[in-house]
């Protein structure tokens, strides 16, 4: 082994990453080269020195503090949902079943909600007070799942017992898209809920409500921004049936220019072409001309060129 190779392998030797053959060659070289032997000793010294740095074992107090801070942050992450649901609570509990049945589109969703009660939360007694300061009848305990009991503090003098726990209640809400609260919940779900399966179900539920401005905006948003390719495609299929407008036009043009998935991009372009041809919309001619002239996809170029020809005639 040469000295250059020795130096290249020095760190690997010290950290036992060399194979048997290389290690043997390395040690043979050390025996015969004083300079490299000195370098090895220096490196060992520095390696030992670096172990003087504190082991940095987290103290139990620090770990608890980190966990509590994380749980508070997770609460804030979920607050958007909780805030909506909490504002619903008086309405949802009293929502008349007859009204739900009579609506055109019934939406039934089950979300798993959590009222997470941290050690600093309200004193709990029967009837149970939630962190919304609402009193829930004791009979509702049957619908509450206790995740974790973090403290039980009996008071010997008064006989009262203070229980701090993490609890969760599952709720099922029924309503229709005519209800603005249902609509708001679904719009937020399709735009921001982490689970793609839930977003997909939500998209299906929103199809019938595209005339509502907030729903329309949410569907267009999903078509452009959902991280899931299948979702963007499904949203695209939904918006094709929507009333045309400048927002939809621009969103489809943006998809034609920026969409990464070829299938979604092509669907957006075909939607533009179909609208242009069916509605004789000549405002799209410049965009279609650009795609006909520059697009890397031959099918896109041909399709757009044909559409432009149909719209402006032989002048193209």
């Amino acid at each position: 082994m040469e000295c250059k190779t020795f130096e290249e392998n020095l760190a690997l030797y010290l950290y036992e990453e060399l194979g048997a053959e290389e290690r043997s060659a390395f040690e043979e070289h050390v025996k015969s080269c004083p300079a490299c032997r000195s370098l090895l000793e220096q490196s060992r010294g520095v390696q030992q020195l670096l172990h003087q740095r504190a082991a940095a074992e987290p103290t139990p107090e620090l770990l608890v503090e980190c966990r509590e801070a994380l749980y508070r942050a997770l609460d804030r992450e979920q607050f958007g949902w909780r805030g909506l649901i909490r504002s619903w609570l008086p309405v949802a509990i009293g929502f008349p079943a007859s009204q739900a049945v009579s609506t055109a589109a019934l939406v039934v969703l089950g979300f798993s909600l959590g009222w997470v009660l941290r050690p600093h939360a309200n004193r709990l007694s029967l009837p149970i007070k939630t962190d919304t300061a609402q009193t829930v009848p004791a009979s509702d305990l049957s619908n509450v799942h206790i995740n974790d009991i973090t403290q039980v503090a009996p008071d010997a003098q008064t006989g009262a017992i203070r229980i701090t726990l993490n609890a969760e209640r599952k709720m099922t809400l029924e309503g229709s898209l005519d209800d603005p609260r249902i609509r708001d919940l679904l719009v937020n779900a399709v735009k921001g809920y982490d689970n793609a399966g839930i977003r997909r179900d939500t998209l299906d539920a929103l199809r019938a409500g595209s005339r509502q401005p907030s729903v329309r905006e949410a569907l267009i948003y999903t078509m452009q921004h959902d991280p899931n390719t299948g979702m963007r495609l499904e949203a695209l299929k939904t918006v094709e049936g929507m009333e045309w407008g400048s927002d939809l036009s621009q969103a489809l043009i943006d998809s034609a220019d920026h969409e990464q998935n070829p299938g979604v991009r092509l669907t957006a372009i075909v939607a533009l072409v179909n609208h242009a041809e069916q509605a004789k919309d000549r405002t799209l001619v410049p965009e279609l001309q650009r795609l006909a002239g520059n697009d890397s996809n031959r099918y896109v170029r041909i399709t757009c060129a044909k559409a432009v020809h149909d719209l402006v005639g032989d002048g193209y």
Binding site: L12, Y15, R53, A54, A55, P58, L62, F111, P227
Partner: protein, 209 residues
Amino acid sequence: MDGICLELAGKVSAEGSRLDEADEHDLIRRAQHGDRAAFEVLVRLYDREVLRLAIKVVGSPDEAQDLYQEAFLKVYRSIAHFRFDSRFSTWLYRVVMNVCLDHLRRQKNRSEVQAPESEEGQPEFFQTLADEKPGLDPERSVQGKEIRQRIGTALSQLTPRERMVFELKHYQGMRLRAIGELCGTTEETAKNCLFRATQKLRVALVDLA
């Protein structure tokens, strides 16, 4: 959520020992469906290691707490995208690595790493960490503090990636192949980082060795 999460949580000792793979996958799937309790069990399985690594990287418990939170929030927001094509721990530590690397890159603008100045009556920063030699006499304690500061300065001279590779190799004992995987690069690149890191540290600290 039902008693299953409690049962699984009961399998985790105070030191965060691991569940078997099937139980862990069950927790992950529950977390992916929005089960907050399942996610918190996952946190408790791995957070001690995460915090240990963060403290190693930044040297400050306060900053490490921020990195801890940032890493787990990223995991929480993206756990739906975990596809079980790697171990969850690998995926998690990759998130932690990227958070730490980003922090080191931001910190690189500083000229040197300094321990926070202690306020009057507050314990010295390095004494808030577990000390392997609690019985040092004052003179040795001062020397030890100076050595640790020199080490901190030397480590700050490494690039963020060199620093991460070195921390994972020297203090966590990870294999270079695993480090390469965590960093989203090759074992060869990890080797080169380790080579450069040890070379720089030797030059900076050889007079103390």
